[in-house]
């Protein structure tokens, strides 16, 4: 090296990504505990597809393969796909989604660092539009053993409707809508009463809430390691809780509590692992607050009024679109130009 600085901190993209992967482990462990080892198969499938897709694209683009495969960013995308998709989607869906994410959303936009959209969330949205049924079948905790999971993943014909249901988020929304209907037998019941069933735990969906807590734990570790800052998870959780809390306070019979929203679906995964993706997210401190708060509100709106089981993916993509605008308008004043 010819120019200063001649010393550098021992930091690398690979290290950052590795820590993100490590931080996912507690959530994954809870996932396996409550929902079975099928998710591990999905993680492996997605990882293999991601590496293959990345390697092929790097070869075509003439980039050094070892360097870029070793940065682990593809694996992070793969794991986020596996963790946000239902654990029993057929193998080809996981593989297709991962390839789409890596080849189209990431590499065709220029590879690492260039993609305006979060690859995993883009894949999620594409798949839920293309295969709404498959993307909405979630087994309840403890419902399926490993072999039936394998069968669902690799088997041909599926008769899943009989054995799986919607996510607790989805189910509660449906129930709440029903409760609002005077003709329904659920009429007049409140969220708390609706949540009395076996599908629900203390905070959110049964089992699912522990997975969410696992991700929260990993996220806090990332915060402590300074891989991420508090801005995005903080603003996201606050905005989601505030918008959910507002409507819940006004009409408790029509809406789920903020705690339920935070503990369900992809909330924690989104707050600490998805929205915090530096490449597709806002970069300035104020921008991060805006970006994540927007995603929080959108997530709630889509969950409460939309047709999809969860809102994190769409909210992320919508906010990804706003990033250039947000970043441009939130540049902090530079040294000597601050108004105290």
């Amino acid at each position: 090296m010819i120019n200063s600085p001649f010393v550098r901190k021992a930091a690398s993209v690979q290290q950052v990504m590795l820590q993100v992967l490590l931080a996912l482990v507690p959530g994954i462990a809870a996932y396996v505990w409550f929902f079975g080892a099928g998710i591990l198969v999905q993680l492996a499938l997605a990882s293999a597809a991601a590496l293959a897709g990345e390697a092929a694209m790097l070869a075509i683009r003439g980039k050094p393969k070892a360097l870029f495969l070793g940065d682990l960013s593809a694996i992070v995308t793969a794991w986020l796909i596996a963790l946000t998709f239902p654990p029993i989607v057929p193998w080809w869906l996981t593989v297709t989604a991962t390839l789409l994410a890596i080849v189209v959303v990431k590499q065709l936009y220029g590879g690492l660092g260039q993609n305006p959209f979060n690859p995993a969330m883009a894949a999620f949205c594409l798949m839920i539009v293309a295969y709404p049924a498959l993307m909405s079948q979630w087994p309840a905790a403890g419902q399926l053993d490993f072999s039936s999971q394998l069968q669902l993943i690799f088997g041909g014909a599926r008769q899943v409707d009989a054995i799986t249901g919607a996510t607790p988020l989805d189910a509660l929304r449906t129930a709440l809508r029903a409760a609002a209907n005077p003709d329904s037998q659920l009429h007049g019941l409140r969220a708390a009463q609706l949540m009395d069933g076996p599908a629900y735990g203390m905070l959110g969906g049964k089992g699912g809430e522990w997975v969410t807590l696992g991700f929260l734990l990993g996220g806090l570790w990332l915060l402590q390691r300074r891989i991420i800052t508090w801005h995005i998870p903080g603003a996201f959780c606050l905005a989601l809780a505030a918008s959910a809390g507002l409507l819940w306070a006004v009409r408790p019979e029509g809406f789920a509590s903020p705690v339920f929203h935070l503990a369900s679906g992809g909330a924690m995964l989104g707050a600490f692992f998805i929205l915090t993706d530096p490449v597709s997210g806002a970069t300035t401190p104020r921008g991060k607050l805006l970006f994540a708060a927007g995603a929080g509100v959108l997530t709630f709106v889509i969950r409460a009024f939309g047709a999809y089981p969860d809102g994190v993916a769409f909210a992320t993509l919508l906010m990804n679109l706003c990033v250039p605008l947000i970043d441009m308008n939130t540049q902090a004043p530079v040294f000597g130009h601050k108004k105290d």
């Binding site: 001649f6 550098r8 930091a11 970069t283 540049q331 004043p333 530079v334 040294f335 000597g336």
Partner: protein
């Protein structure tokens, strides 16, 4: 009483590596064979030469006169004969030459006549002229002529005089040792500056990793009976020693880019500068030497009092550079410049000769794309968004880069230091600045033009060097192949007689190594003999140098010309 300190944004904490060079006091350096004194050593115009080859000069005699509105004089560092006034390599990455006076010392080290002034009775203008002619410039590295900064602002008086003893760059300890050993005299210089600036208070900022220096300065202040002068320990965080950062830490004032700090009632000088002002006023001695840290890949890191113009390798030899040394860096590892040769002269800007090796300063891992993680922005003490500037610099969108305040960048290197993608961000900013200067040539001052020229050359030089490195690698491969072939082949005369300086390709490498080893061993022995004394054994020391040089010459004669280098 605890003073309220302020924080600056960002900053980093590289390994300080300072203790190694603080165990020994500042040492003198034996006179070198020749001194090469560049005439242009400070910011501003080029001083004109006042001597010609053959002239006899005294120590402290002016050899370069200040020229233009901003300039600073240059002096002979010892007595002797002027051998040449010609361009010589300057201590800068560019590898450019600059007009220099070559002096062969006569060994008497005799001062010429020196005039002193009483700063209390001399009118300020005369005092400033005196300091200009004494060649006093900022010794923190910026080498800005001090006289030009010794004017109080519009109001005729200054609120705070900040004295910079922070010394935040890793490895460098010259200010630390100066404060430890010469605090009282330095303080006299500070008092004079305070008088010139009519400063209400004086704050001496010292990073808290130098408790000895803080204590020494505090003791000196107490002993002097001065009031309104305070030595303040500030948190250790690079670049706390940047003038703007230090002013911010001590006073809370942020001086924007392009504004004079006196407009805000503050002025900042380095502790070394204060000491040289003392020397100039008290004894009439111009700035002809300075404290220089020799650190890094050496056996005995320490500080030396070095005459300006001394070849760097002459100083480094005293500390014993290790065998794998591959470069000298002037300054510290964060902002220092890599030097084009080992024998470039020590100049007024030389606070440290950092001896480098591939092991000590390994090349960075391969550069990856920016992942917009924002680490660089978090670390930037100028509150910039380096990755945005990087983006626009890369795409040569210089207007946009300027919109993101490119010129507020102080090139501290924090961003490159933290980047997980190992992007040489500062390089991009230096490049962009030079390109913008190039485009604004018509409007730019002569100074900016010089910088631009330097940068352009430095770019070309880099390209050249990269090419040379590739060629050298190729040549080495060829040599190895030849060697392997010849070993497999018949007996080879040079292999039997490695001492002969016959240019034979296969064993030349071995010959060279053996010769260097022998010469170095001899030099080491001779140095071991002279180690306890310094100046008396000068001739032996010089002899050792000569031997080493002769050996190297013989070696280079023995080295076969490489086919494609």
């Amino acid at each position: 009483m605890l003073r309220k300190l302020f924080k600056f944004h960002g900053g980093v904490k590289p390994q300080t590596n300072k203790v190694q060079s603080t165990t020994q006091p500042i040492a003198p350096v034996p006179l070198p064979e020749r001194l090469v004194i560049p005439l242009h050593q400070a910011v501003g115009g080029h001083p004109r030469p006042l001597v010609a080859p053959g002239d006899k000069v005294f120590k402290g005699q002016r050899i370069g006169g200040a020229d233009g509105s901003l300039s600073s004089a240059v002096h002979a560092s010892t007595s002797g004969i002027v051998r040449d006034v010609a361009p010589a390599l300057m201590p800068h990455t560019s590898g450019l030459t600059t007009l220099s006076v070559v002096i062969e010392p006569d060994g008497e080290d005799r001062w010429g006549e020196l005039d002193k002034v009483n700063y209390r009775t001399t009118p300020p203008d005369e005092l400033r002229d005196f300091l200009r002619d004494a060649g006093v410039v900022g010794l923190g590295g910026a080498v800005f002529p001090s006289y030009a900064k010794l004017k109080p602002g519009k109001e005729g008086r200054l609120k705070t005089l900040v004295i910079n003893g922070a010394e935040c760059e890793p490895f460098i300890t010259c200010d630390d040792l100066l404060m430890r050993e010469r605090a009282a005299d330095m303080l006299k210089g500070i008092v004079a500056m305070r008088h010139m600036l009519q400063a209400e208070e004086v704050l001496i900022g010292i990073e808290d990793n130098k408790p000895e220096a803080v204590a020494a300065v505090q003791t000196a202040i107490a002993a002097s009976g001065q009031t309104g002068i305070e030595a303040v320990a500030i948190p250790t965080r690079y670049p706390a020693g940047g003038a703007k950062q230090l002013i911010r830490v001590l006073t809370g004032i942020e001086v924007p880019h392009g504004r004079r700090s006196t407009d805000f009632g503050v002025q900042c000088f380095n502790v070394g500068t204060a000491y040289s002002i003392f020397e100039a006023l008290e004894f009439g001695r111009p700035l002809i030497s300075r404290v220089v840290t020799v650190a890094g890949n050496v056996d005995l890191p320490r500080n030396y009092e070095v005459l300006i113009g001394t070849p760097m390798d002459h100083v480094v030899r005293l500390s014993g550079a290790r065998a794998d040394t591959d470069r000298y860096i002037m300054g510290g590892p964060m902002m220092g410049v890599r030097l084009p040769a080992f024998d470039v002269p020590v100049v007024k800007a030389t606070n440290c000769i950092l001896v480098g090796s591939p092991a000590l300063f390994p090349p960075p891992p391969p550069e990856m794309p920016c992942i917009r993680c924002g680490e660089c922005a978090k670390a930037c003490p100028a509150d910039l968004a380096p990755f945005e500037m990087y983006w626009f610099s890369r795409s040569k969108n210089f207007g946009k880069a300027q919109e993101y305040h490119l010129f507020d960048c102080i090139e501290c290197g924090c961003c490159s230091f933290v980047c997980p993608s190992h992007i040489p961000l500062v390089d991009y900013f230096r490049f962009s600045k030079s390109e913008i200067w190039a485009r604004e040539r018509d409007k730019s001052s002569s100074d900016a033009a010089r910088d631009r020229f330097e940068f352009k050359n430095f770019r070309q030089e880099r390209e050249k060097q990269e090419k040379a490195e590739k060629l050298a690698a190729k040549a080495a491969a060829t040599r190895e192949k030849v060697a392997a072939d010849s070993q497999a082949g018949t007996a080879n005369p040079a292999a039997e007689a490695p001492d002969t300086a016959k240019p034979t390709a296969p064993s030349a490498e071995d010959t060279k190594r053996a010769l260097i080893a022998a010469a170095m061993e001899k030099a080491r022995q001779q140095k071991a003999q002279v180690a306890p004394k310094n100046t008396e054994q000068l001739s032996a020391e010089t002899q050792a140098d000569i031997d080493a040089i002769e050996a190297r010459r013989a070696v280079s004669a023995a080295t076969p010309p490489t086919p494609d280098a």
